[in-house]
Symmetry: C2
Subunit: 154 residues, 2 copies
DNA sequence: TCTGAAAATTGTGCCCT
DNA sequence: AGGGCACAATTTTCAGA
């Protein structure tokens, strides 16, 4: 369903989606029309979910990443629904996972500095009934990519 | 330096960068030329870092996210350098943070299923001298966005 | 399914306000 | 700064091989 040419196209588009179809076609050794049709198909199939601009976190003054481990007091569907609504409404919270093991939820939060995290923390504990919160601060981002591996798809 | 019109432009582009300049200009109540000039400036200033295609993790068969906490045996610059090289070379590892506190590094890894994580784990422990590894599996992604908050920039 | 070219749309620069 | 207009480039469609 996805051959090596599609993978080549996706590899390029995951890095840079500003290239013209003609330039992209060149790189994958195709001419523009077939390349364009493949891109169209990848979009229709939802393989390409969206195209977005990635902004510079430092320049937006949100250079500090905080990982927040949360344990809930109530394991109910209602609590989960409320939890989703609350984290959805906090723009500093950019990722939320429900985890296996002793940590119930893990959040990734971006803020200008460690002190600014306090506002997000207070908002979480005031809007939600939480059993335990543990926050770890990232000192340095060593790798950060939106590029997913294409090795497992066929 | 970044006014509310720039923020409006960035808000749209963080969601969808496929819009034409004319359409984007419409949405921020500007005509195309000044809108285009603002976009140009945001790119030159590096506020807009890049434009990429975001792919569907499920459809690429990497629907399982693993959070890996690593403690190192050696706190040396050489070890860190080697560590960066190794994680850089593993496409399943998409984020790596150096943390404060008792966890030295945190990795975000994407794989098709929990069993497939074993390959990444073995690669990590074979290529690096590691004191302790603790892996947690995400059962569900409740929120995941590349949209950074624009509330802290001026 | 590819190539090549035409038609439609969009990006880019110039000049004016 | 913003707006209007003209031209360049690119996307998208459509013919033929």
């Amino acid at each position: 369903m996805i051959d090596h040419i599609d993978k080549a196209i996706l590899t390029v588009l995951q890095e840079d989606s500003t290239l013209s179809v003609a330039e992209l076609a060149d790189r994958v050794h195709l001419s523009t029309t077939p390349c364009w049709r493949r891109i169209q198909k990848l979009e229709n199939d939802g393989i390409i979910a969206r195209r977005v601009a990635l902004l510079d976190a430092e320049k937006l003054n949100v250079g500090v990443t905080v990982l927040v481990e949360i344990r809930t007091a109530q394991h109910t569907a209602a609590w989960l629904k409320r939890f989703c609504e609350v984290v959805d409404g906090i723009p500093e919270v950019i990722e939320v996972y429900r985890m296996s093991g002793h940590i119930d939820y893990l959040l990734k939060v971006v803020v200008p500095h460690i002190a600014a995290y306090d506002g997000v923390y207070k908002r979480l504990i005031s809007e939600l009934e939480i059993f335990d919160v543990s926050s770890s601060f990232s000192m340095e981002t060593l790798k950060h990519t939106t590029r997913l591996p294409l090795d497992y798809v066929s």
